[in-house]
Symmetry: C2
Subunit: 259 residues, 2 copies
Amino acid sequence: MEKQKVNVIKVGGKIVEEEDTLRRLLDDFAALDGYKVLVHGGGRSATRLAERLGIESRMVDGRRITDADTLQVVTMVYGGLVNKNIVVGLQARGVNALGLTGADMNVMRSHKRPVVKIDYGFVGDVEQTDGSLLADLIHKGIVPVMAPLTHDGQGHLLNTNADTIAGETAKALARAGFDVTLTFCFEKQGVLRDENDDQSVIAEIDEASFRQLVDEGVIQGGMIPKLQNSFEAIRAGVSQVVITQASHVAQTHLGTHCR
Amino acid sequence: MEKQKVNVIKVGGKIVEEEDTLRRLLDDFAALDGYKVLVHGGGRSATRLAERLGIESRMVDGRRITDADTLQVVTMVYGGLVNKNIVVGLQARGVNALGLTGADMNVMRSHKRPVVKIDYGFVGDVEQTDGSLLADLIHKGIVPVMAPLTHDGQGHLLNTNADTIAGETAKALARAGFDVTLTFCFEKQGVLRDENDDQSVIAEIDEASFRQLVDEGVIQGGMIPKLQNSFEAIRAGVSQVVITQASHVAQTHLGTHCR
């Protein structure tokens, strides 16, 4: 029997936090045929709310230090404001969305990141993802919308990187028998050969060409961990990973394809 | 075939917003055997957050006037903070909770309350509840935890009275074939014959005795609409409605039973 396809699409905070870009994203996502999952961020809104509440936002390497007050902020923003705005917008477009954190239905369990050099606070590293309940819901036509929060099974929510949530969800759905395409949306059209030339998208990368492009200095900085995650997902059974712009979510031939 | 029992339990904001009372409630709710649903409020936290953000809370007859800013506050507090705190606390107690607003899976659709004398703003009157998806999840061992938010199918969340959410959920589950007990938790042990005597709980009320107790002036004020809602639920197929204290959720013989 042929495997059923599912698209797991991760969009960053910026896109889902502004009315215009959110509207366009929801239109594009609603137009995408077949089974699908949306994973979102929300960092800018969290920073904004924290600021209004007089809570300082501290970031280390792009990761938010999450003390108890900040955890309340991200719970409100990721689990409430951003997630429910997406859900209600998709419902208006005929998409039967269901907003989830990792605590809901025990979908994603994590442990608090151990303190090595930096104490990230209430930040979770994912341990276990239950793809079977997600798969059941997807087969019923439900479209999960996942917020970047997990839980430790001991009563604590943990702030969790949205790229990680997307990767773990994709892997769990692959284990549950789906043919999974994982799409990371970011501000560029794909992985670029020349960062000043938007037309220089590398259409396809495999692990060998990835290593070569890193050696040549073509791929550098934050793109390296993104691609490492992508190939890890592929080794774990995800069929392909696409790195592209949010405006291209419905045109799956665009962007950079990792296989 | 005998109908399967389900308990729909509604708890007010006060209980779920303080650490001690929340802990006790979650212990009691986790100890309750069989299928169950929890419906919660969160008004005090919403008022508190609104205050911190410099947003004025305006109430008319105990109902919150919900302008656009206030809708954001209740979305964050009801859909995020309060709901996810309950979910994560139940997961830690081995209860497979799933937090929902009415927008999630299109469970509860409403329309914006028409302006008669007062413009309540983004407040929803429930139109339609889908009990079948809830029933499927309940049969799978999932425990829905419902926040007092619904949606209009046009992209708007609407602030919705938690008693109404509980009543509509109970009725929908009755239609889906369950033997439903709906429990409203409030600060007293039940409907009291003498409001100064906590021992004077009326153990059982039917519609005839309700009318008589109102005529006699024994039941008055806010208890009248609560009991009217209760009997409306019973006429719509709910087996019984219990009015009791939150600390008695696991002792279903206590409180006032409406049949």
